[in-house]
C-alpha cells in the first residue's frame, strides 16, 4: 500500500476506534484493522503527526489526540447515553457532538471559579446558548505546544 493510501486508512481506522470505544486504539489493534504490520502503522502515525492530522505524545509517541478526541483523561468529559469520550478542550467537546450529530452532555469546570459546569447539546444545537468559552492561546501559536493549547 503506498503511503498516502496507508495514511488515509490509518486515519480512518483510528477515528473509527475512538468513535466506537471512546479510547485510542493500540498499535496492534490498528495493525489488525488495516491489515498492515505494526512498524508500518507506527511510521504512518508519525507522518500523520507531522501533518497535524493527529497528535502523538512528544516522548512516548503513543496516540495522544485525534481531534476532537483525547486519548487521555482531560477536563472535558463528553457523554451520550452509555458512550463517553474525553475531549481536548471546549471546542473539541462541542466538536464531538457536532461531528457525530448526537446529543451530548459535556462535564467540565469553570476555569475562572472552578465550579463544575455541564453543557448539553441536542446534536444539532446547544440546549442552552448561555455562556462563554475562553481561548487562552492566539491562533498563530496553537501548534507551538499543542498539549498546552
Amino acid at each position: 500500500m503506498i503511503t498516502d493510501e496507508l495514511d488515509l486508512e490509518v486515519r480512518l481506522s483510528v477515528y473509527r476506534h475512538f468513535v466506537r470505544t471512546g479510547r485510542a486504539p493500540s498499535l496492534s489493534e490498528t495493525s489488525a484493522d488495516v491489515d498492515v504490520d505494526s512498524a508500518a502503522i507506527s511510521a504512518s502515525l508519525e507522518r500523520l503527526d507531522t501533518r497535524h492530522v493527529l497528535v502523538l505524545h512528544p516522548t512516548n509517541r503513543q496516540l495522544w489526540m485525534a481531534m476532537p478526541f483525547s486519548a487521555i483523561p482531560t477536563g472535558f468529559r463528553v457523554t451520550s447515553g452509555e458512550r463517553a469520550w474525553w475531549a481536548n478542550c471546549a471546542w473539541d467537546a462541542l466538536g464531538i457532538s457536532a461531528m457525530l450529530q448526537i446529543p451530548v452532555e459535556i462535564t467540565t469546570s469553570c476555569t475562572d471559579c472552578g465550579d463544575p459546569l455541564t453543557l448539553r447539546t441536542t446534536g444539532r444545537a446547544l440546549s442552552d446558548p448561555t455562556g462563554v468559552v475562553h481561548f487562552a492561546v492566539a491562533a498563530a501559536a496553537w501548534w507551538d505546544d499543542i498539549g498546552f493549547t
Binding site: 476532537p68 457536532a98 475562553h134
Partner: protein, 51 residues
C-alpha cells in the same frame, strides 16, 4: 488575556470545523481556509490570525 467567545459562536465553530471530519474525503484546511472560516464567524483581529 486570550479571547472570550460566546458559546453560540463556539458551537458554530465546532460545527464548521468538525463536520465531515470522519469522511474519507476529509483533508486538513489550509491556513487561508482556516482564516476564512474564522472571519466568517466574526473571529477577527490579531488573536485569530493563523500566521
Amino acid at each position: 488575556m486570550g479571547a472570550v467567545v460566546s458559546l453560540e459562536t463556539a458551537w458554530a465553530l465546532a460545527v464548521a470545523w468538525y463536520t465531515g471530519r470522519l469522511e474519507r474525503e476529509w483533508r486538513r484546511r489550509t491556513p487561508a481556509e482556516a482564516q476564512a472560516l474564522f472571519t466568517s464567524l466574526g473571529l477577527v483581529g490579531p488573536f485569530w490570525r493563523v500566521r
